[in-house]
């Protein structure tokens, strides 16, 4: 079965993970069974946002047949500056999605800059992957409230609410057709409930790979422990991700 990981990070200094060459990370992911991975910066979520977008794009130059690059922006710069960086990443760097991590980036999703950023991302056909599940600034319903104001934008709850708020993530998914849930770091029993209640075409596989070893197989095992339906597994592990953003062997055309 093909596996596309919709939630990985370029290794950085955060959480003590040592910086590693991207080719080494790719080999590890391939050995773990991945056919491709959406990837975002790590260090750029805590400092020097624009520079880390450049570094990620440069790193991935020879690996676009495997990685799908996600940029990030800093809402504290204001909507105008953040959108300018978003457009630069899309048009000049060929990045294809937007990652926002309101906990690490220290902004509330109710910050007035967020909705204009989401709307522009939708116009640029860039899905937006949020960290979620961590109060007070990264809850599923906060993301859903912003997504409601930008209904044309594909919004992904990167952790499906985590264990404390996965049921809020289910509610967000059921209320808003633009919201997808990435089954990353949620416990198996809760994943089973999510699969049982949410449309299968809006669930994604994710692992947080890049933060440390063994995350990809561990994340896959959590899903396989509670779901045997092959059609559902195909959707979760690759079809849905490929429908949103297919892995390309070249920079996607603007």
């Amino acid at each position: 079965m093909r596996i596309i990981d919709a939630h990985t990070h370029r290794p950085g200094s955060l959480l003590g993970a040592p910086p590693r060459p991207i080719g080494e990370l790719r080999r590890e992911f391939e050995q773990d069974g991945l056919s491709g991975a959406w990837i975002a910066t790590t260090d750029g979520l805590i400092r020097d946002t624009n520079r880390h977008n450049d570094l990620l794009a440069e790193d991935l130059r020879d690996h676009l047949d495997f990685f799908v690059p996600f940029c990030t922006v800093d809402p504290h710069q204001g909507a105008e500056a953040a959108i300018r960086e978003l457009e630069r990443c899309r048009k000049e760097l060929g990045m294809r999605g937007l990652k926002l991590h309101s906990w690490l980036q220290a902004f509330s999703i109710s910050n007035p800059a967020v909705v204009p950023i989401l709307r522009r991302a939708g116009e640029l056909r860039m899905p937006v992957l949020f960290h979620d599940g961590t109060p007070p600034y990264s809850t599923p319903l906060q993301v859903a409230a912003a997504a409601e104001q930008a209904p044309e934008t594909t919004v992904i709850l990167g952790h499906a609410g985590l264990d404390d708020l996965y049921r809020d993530a289910i509610l967000a998914c059921l209320r808003h057709p633009s919201i997808y849930l990435c089954l990353c770091s949620v416990s198996s029993g809760y994943i089973q409930e999510i699969i049982g209640r949410c449309p299968a075409d809006r669930l994604l596989f994710g692992s947080d790979g890049g933060f440390g070893p063994g995350l990809v197989p561990s994340a896959a095992d959590k899903i396989l422990a509670v779901c045997e339906d092959q059609a559902t597994l195909n959707r979760i592990f690759h079809e849905n991700a490929e429908a949103i953003l297919p892995v390309a062997n070249r920079r996607s055309a603007w």
Partner: protein, 246 residues
């Protein structure tokens, strides 16, 4: 005609098993508060609901011109919770008090639905503590309020502490059946509530004993509100909401 000041957020704490409103009544006199809407606290919210409702009803009967009472019912008691609530509302209490942190549920959990249906049937508002992750956040109240558009919800403490500056306004925009209660919230946030949610959807509370009358009353006096808006927020809105006199 003004109703005077109504405090929509006061708890009477148990001391050695007794509920004594004496200190609250003294503070109400000192700060010219005409009426307070009181709920029991702590173990009577979490576990001993029936006892809490009985004692609050007794206190309200003893001070009918100064106090109105809220009922408590832990949703985990299921059908018994709804029956307790019906008895309390039928006996004259004016609404339901929820505290998801103390009672161990999320505002978005379905187990609270029967209590909300009961309040709708009795046309009584639901006051809930908010501001506590992961169970009592403004957008969770909005989700609940959207699920029950015929109910009226009061966002206790306006999402304090982590949410009052950001989430309260957009959450209230999602659900027109939410009213915001001001205790504990930043003064600057309250001005924004009035402007962006609407003057008729903001009510004063002291949050006693978590907060104190001196701070909360002075906070409201220091706001740049017109006399008319001040009168609405401090009492008239609450009188209409709770169906009580001044």
């Amino acid at each position: 005609m003004s109703t005077g000041i109504i405090d929509s957020s006061a708890r009477i704490c148990s001391a050695n098993g007794a509920l004594d409103p004496g200190e609250l009544l003294r503070l109400m006199d000192e700060w010219s508060i005409a009426r307070a809407v009181v709920a029991p606290s702590d173990e009577m919210v979490a576990v001993y609901n029936e006892e809490g409702n009985r004692r609050i009803a007794e206190i309200v009967r003893a001070h009918p011109n100064r106090l109105s009472g809220l009922a408590v019912a832990n949703p985990w008691y299921g059908a018994n919770a709804a029956q307790m609530l019906e008895a309390a509302l039928g006996g004259g209490l004016v609404g339901l008090y929820l505290h998801p942190g103390l009672q161990g549920f999320h505002l978005t959990d379905d187990i609270v639905n029967p209590l909300i249906q009961t309040c709708i049937a009795y046309e009584k508002p639901i006051y809930s503590h908010t501001g506590t992750p992961v169970c009592a956040m403004p957008f969770q109240m909005a989700e609940l309020a959207r699920r029950h558009p015929d109910a009226v919800f009061i966002m206790g403490h306006a999402g304090w502490s982590d949410f009052c500056l950001y989430d309260v306004v957009p959450a209230c925009r999602q659900a027109p059946n939410i009213v915001v209660e001001t205790s504990c919230a930043f003064a600057s946030a309250i001005g924004r509530f009035v402007q962006e949610i609407g003057v008729d959807r903001v009510i004063f509370g002291t949050g006693y004993p978590r907060s104190r009358h001196r701070f909360e009353v002075n906070k409201m006096r220091g706001l740049d509100l017109t006399e008319e808006v001040y009168r609405q927020v401090m009492g008239d809105n609450a009188a209409r909401l709770w169906g009580i006199g001044g």
